[in-house]
Amino acid sequence: MIRFENVSKVYARGARPALNGMSAEIERGEFVFLVGASGSGKSTCLRLALREERPTQGKVFVAGRDLSTLSSWKVPSLRRQIGVVFQDFRLLQNKTVFENVAFALQVTGKPRHMIAVTVPEVLETVGLQGKEKRRPHELSGGEQQRVAIARAFVNRPSILLADEPTGNLDPNTSLGIMNLLSRINATGTTVVMATHDSGFVNQMRQRVIELSNGVVLRDQKDGVYGAGVPMPDDDALREPSGHLAERPWSPPVEVRPVPALESPAHAQGVTGTVRVQPSSQGEW
């Protein structure tokens, strides 16, 4: 679905490259965490996949298209297959929840009757029914992010890119957002999430691609966040609120110990050679 082939990206001449010969492949229907320190190249990966940037070297393939040869007038049709969510939500403050979501359909020329049907549907999916007429400033951060996700998902994209979607949210709210992303993933949408939120990465046991200085440091199925070091805020994240019941995955009641350094899985992981194929998304 998304393939990076030896991609390098240098933003300014002479500057340190944001990506430096990075390669990775993400299959259809996967849920992938993109982790790494700030400046490791996570956001650049997402921008390249959206073709907001072009690689300095190497090739990026998204949904079967070679983005290096994609002509600029075909970029909109590429982006209609990709939903994007950001840390800062990027909602239009002067529009209501409904209008914010409808905006994505309006500007791509969808007919009005379709908007009238689709928007309430997707708002229900993200759990915002009854708040259609609110404006973003009347919503909590978590609700705003749900609006943003609804907007990203309303076109039923085959790929959802999330750039630190829980970065501005408290742990419990983040849990709801993660839950929502999981459910979107379960419908067959490929989800790529750049994050610093070690707790969820460790809990969800999805594929983890760790970037460091523009290269893939580790590409691990069922991976964890750091190199086996539990993050200090892990505990806070694992005190789930009342949302427990609707979670698609089973959160551990007890804190699951992070695999020790000697564990085979991790030892394999750090070599950065593991290529993981999707396991459970047979229908896609």
């Binding site: 970029v75 982006r79 209609r80 994007v84 990027r90 239009l92 309006q106 791509t108 969808k110 009005r112």
Partner: protein, 303 residues
């Protein structure tokens, strides 16, 4: 859906930048008024030429009874000399001269009396104070020099006069006014382009977030840019309509109602002529706006 959405975007854009929108309207209004005035002056010149050049003729004045002119040393032009000139117009100048009309001094006196029944400046003139003349209508009025060369100095000819000369200075004045108006129009249009560019840039900046989201959800470049382009274009076209209205009123009150009634023997431009140049003004306005939009947007809303 698309049209409605784009219209709503345009409306909000125009309202948000109301002051700028108004200034765009005013600047295009003034600049296009100058363009229109220049065009109307040209039309007026054309009208006068059509009207007068059809009527004006080359006059060949024949020697009166006592003329100081050396070619008239033999006294009044004799019937033989008149006949010789008639032959000349028919033969040598046959290609240049379309019609010949001989006005005898009696005819001249008759028309003089008709115009000044109480005498001219208190003097009562007689038939002998008049002079006979030939009125020549040329196939091509531009060929006056040919006729002049052939006829001047012939026996019995006192003077050859091209009536068009009378109008030359008037046309020169009108032409200069038209040029001046055109020059001002160019300056004002430059101001209009710069102002439209600035307006669109402001509008694009104030809607940066919308534009950014539009790009991310895959709106086409045209869809993103169209509201901005149309915003500029609408403001400019409104300015053009104002210019047309202003010129229409100007022509109505200044030319039709005032000049026409005070100096009635001239063919004037009319309100219909304003409507004739209206499409031109509207087109200019639209292209001014469209070109400045495209230039600005290629920089500010790149996909």
């Amino acid at each position: 859906m698309r049209a409605q959405f784009i219209l709503a975007e345009i409306g909000s854009g125009l309202r948000r930048n109301l002051a700028m929108t108004i200034s765009v309207i005013l600047v295009t209004f003034v600049s296009l008024t100058f363009v229109g005035a220049s065009a109307l002056l040209q039309l007026q010149i054309g009208k006068l030429k059509d009207d007068w050049y059809d009527r004006v003729e080359v006059s060949v004045f024949l020697c009166p009874i006592d003329s100081p002119n050396p070619t008239c040393a033999g006294g009044e032009a004799s019937p033989e000399q008149v006949e010789a000139l008639e032959t000349l117009f028919a033969s040598e100048l046959g290609d240049e001269v379309e019609t010949v009309y001989f006005e005898s001094k009696e005819d001249a006196f008759a028309s003089f009396e008709e115009r000044f029944p109480d005498g001219y400046n208190g003097t009562q003139l007689t038939v002998d104070d008049m002079q006979s003349s030939f009125r020549l209508k040329l196939t091509n009025p531009e060929n006056y020099e040919v006729v002049n060369d052939v006829v001047t100095g012939r026996p019995g000819v006192e003077a050859v006069e091209d009536q068009r000369r009378i109008f030359d200075s008037l046309f020169l004045a009108l032409n200069r006014a038209s040029l001046m108006s055109g020059g001002l129009a160019v300056v004002m249009m430059l101001a209009a382009v710069l102002l439209i560019t600035t307006t669109i840039r402001l509008s694009a900046m104030s809607r940066q977030r919308e534009t950014e989201i539009m790009k991310l959800v895959g709106a086409s470049k045209l869809f993103i840019q169209l509201p901005f382009i149309l915003e500029g274009a609408i403001a400019a076209v409104v300015g053009a309509f104002l210019a047309v209205g202003g010129l229409w009123l100007g022509v109505k009150y200044l030319v039709t109602d005032w000049l026409q009634s005070s100096v009635s023997w001239i063919a004037y431009i009319s309100e219909a002529d304003v409507l004739r140049i209206a499409p031109l003004l509207l087109l200019i306005a639209f292209f001014l706006a469209a070109i400045s939009s495209v230039v600005t947007l290629s920089r500010y809303t790149r996909v």
